[in-house]
């Protein structure tokens, strides 16, 4: 589209490539339905979220069935699952503290696995669900709710009001903006990182379709695996940092 608008006469390769590339990473409606007279779509994001979710649910059911008859001497599968659970436990307990981490490891472990699989799902040929702001913003809002639930639970409303007035009382609006910026910045960070990787891979496949044979694998390794894992870690790390800041000395 970009090329076609500028060159009025020749709608050649530029137009085809540009619209092709653009359509390969945009969110598209797969299936449309009517609800209250409104035309709605199930988008590619919905499909990818559903695939990621079903993989996780099936994995959870398999693990549940296998762990019913867990052994003293663990097999390969049991070893791998125990290692994963222990790694998540260690990550959370080293950041939140050994006393409270049991309450938060459920939430943080869940979003860790979900975001990791979502980011890596670019390797499966899906459009990563986290490259849609409609997926990352709810994650940010959930984190926001957890942070402020912990704040109200452990610091009591008086402590919350006091911390909003921190240096001086007229600092209140700035502190409020700072609080409400947390979910937006966290979700935008995850979204923009994954989206940039998706777009760069689409540009490479679209513009270099004749020369892009084996070597984009290295770029997949960087954008999907490395960057996706780092962003997952950062999201969970920031959640834990905010929660442990609100927990304070408790």
């Amino acid at each position: 589209m970009i090329g076609a608008n500028l060159s009025t006469g020749s709608v050649g390769l530029g137009h085809v490539v540009a619209s092709d590339v653009q359509s390969s990473f945009m969110i598209k409606g797969v299936f449309s339905y009517e609800l209250f007279g409104q035309k709605l779509y199930i988008t590619t994001t919905g499909v990818s979220v559903f695939i990621v979710m079903s993989i996780l649910v099936i994995f959870a059911l398999v693990v549940n069935a296998k762990m019913k008859k867990a052994d003293e001497i663990p097999g390969t599968f049991q070893c791998i699952v125990e290692m994963a659970v222990e790694a998540l436990d260690n990550m959370v307990s080293s950041n939140i503290g050994a006393k409270h981490y049991k309450k938060y490891v459920n939430y943080i472990g869940t979003i860790f696995i979900f975001i990791l699989l979502s980011n890596v799902s670019g390797l499966l040929g899906l459009r990563p669900p986290t490259a849609d702001y409609g997926v990352t913003f709810p994650l940010g809002v959930m984190t926001f709710c957890i942070i402020h639930f912990v704040d109200f639970k452990y610091n009591k409303p008086s402590g919350v009001i006091k911390s909003l007035m921190e240096p001086w009382p007229f600092w209140l609006p700035i502190n409020l903006v700072g609080d409400f910026a947390v979910p937006i910045s966290m979700s935008l960070r995850l979204f923009a990182n994954v989206l940039s990787g998706t777009i760069i891979m689409a540009l490479i496949y679209g513009l270099l379709n004749m020369v892009a044979y084996a070597w984009p694998a290295f770029l997949h390794m960087y954008f999907d695996l490395f960057s996706g894992a780092i962003q997952t870690y950062v999201f969970c790390m920031l959640t834990m940092a905010y929660v442990s800041e609100k927990l304070g000395e408790n």
């Binding site: 970009i2 960070r189 990182n193 870690y233 950062v234």
Partner: protein
């Protein structure tokens, strides 16, 4: 060749997108400084390599955000076309 208002807006959006991603300079410098100090710290205390690396990666990922905002503005200008 006649250029109407829409073409002009598209051309200026493309220029604006190019200027927007210049914001990548800041995070680049910041991440480089963070990596430099991390290398320095590993040189002083090789035993703490794991902690230093994870702290460095976390800091770098947070510093990257401003650059990503610039990228986001460029993406909006190019693909969502709010002005056209």
């Amino acid at each position: 060749m006649d250029i109407n208002g829409h073409d002009l807006i598209m051309a200026c959006s493309a220029i604006g997108a190019g200027i927007g991603v210049i914001s990548g300079i800041g995070p680049g410098v910041g991440q480089g400084i963070a990596a430099g100090y991390a290398a320095n710290a590993v040189g002083r205390n090789p035993g703490a390599k794991g902690d230093i690396t994870s702290t460095m990666l976390l800091g770098q990922a947070v510093a990257e955000t401003t650059g990503l905002y610039g990228l986001l503005v460029a993406m909006l200008l190019l693909f969502v076309k709010p002005l056209a």
